[in-house]
Subunit: 217 residues, 2 copies
Amino acid sequence: MGNLKREALSLYLVTDRALSLGRALTEIVRAAVRGGTTMVQLREKACDTRAFVELGRAVHDLLRPLGIPLIVNDRTDIAQVIGAEGVHIGQRDMAYADARRLLGPEAIIGLSVENDEQARECVSFSGLDYIGASPVFATPTKTDTARALGLEGVRRLRQIVGPTMPIVAIGGINSTNIQEIIHAGADGVAVVSALCSAREPEAAARALLHEINRAKS
Amino acid sequence: MGNLKREALSLYLVTDRALSLGRALTEIVRAAVRGGTTMVQLREKACDTRAFVELGRAVHDLLRPLGIPLIVNDRTDIAQVIGAEGVHIGQRDMAYADARRLLGPEAIIGLSVENDEQARECVSFSGLDYIGASPVFATPTKTDTARALGLEGVRRLRQIVGPTMPIVAIGGINSTNIQEIIHAGADGVAVVSALCSAREPEAAARALLHEINRAKS
């Protein structure tokens, strides 16, 4: 079990350079955290390892002084070399046990869960820090995702994994549906385009966080 | 410096599933090592991490009992998780110092060198196990490579890195040009299509090795 504070999942930015309207990723991240973003996942699927490391170091330099965890999607090697706080793995990435063995007990490791069966399986994953309920709603950001869980699916996952496992919801999330997602059992929301494609990521983060806090209060 | 025996570079298979004529990679590797292949590099550029790990374990299970080193292209995480003997990195992969730090002193680490400047730089890389002179001749296997070094280029690289650094040549190699490549200063040759696309990889390996041994004797 890594050093994840549950409230760090509240507003979780997942990066996507293709959706950042030509702006540098560091610019998006800087604005998003000024607006209250609590955690950042660096996701790069078509990037040289060298460039991925450089980008990761630049983002980590920005987040470390603020105490905001940086999570790397899929690549444990990138996470290790830049000293990131952890990794997020999907069902087609490295197996949880392998990732934990490589990164050690202190790393934050999150796992995408797309259905009830995967949720039941992950209950036995010792030290798993959080699950990503994915996707809650249909989303244009990822083309390889499973069928949308819906609010009912989030409620079912919460029942399966129990009250202590942190859950972050991802997929098609914006300020209009945050309330119901949190009420369905998520600890927070992960967003891609709602921040990366926002004209003003700082203001967008602030607005999303306001909805999250309202739902939790 | 890893545990590389210099003669292990003699006939170095670099895998490419797309060039394997529909045959399983384990089948190619099994036949190639029966024919005398001395080292294997697993190169996968468009593969889920989970599938890469599974493939790597299958190939490693095959090679480990034979004492043939398995090297993973680019991905130190895959190398670590499957317990491979090392990694091969290109100029756009992780920096050598980062890879060495992650994998420790025992791992074999090789680096692609495409020109004189990169050769001069790598002389200062403490513990680097070998360099891959790339590409010696123009090759259809990789589309992102630098200008062909030619035999003259191999001779220059040998002069720059000195007599003790192992060099494996790659790019456009077949039984007709092995003699001159070894005489230009390479310790061995790395091949992709000459084995992966061979109708009989075992016989092809045997024929290549025969040329290599003839050049060295």
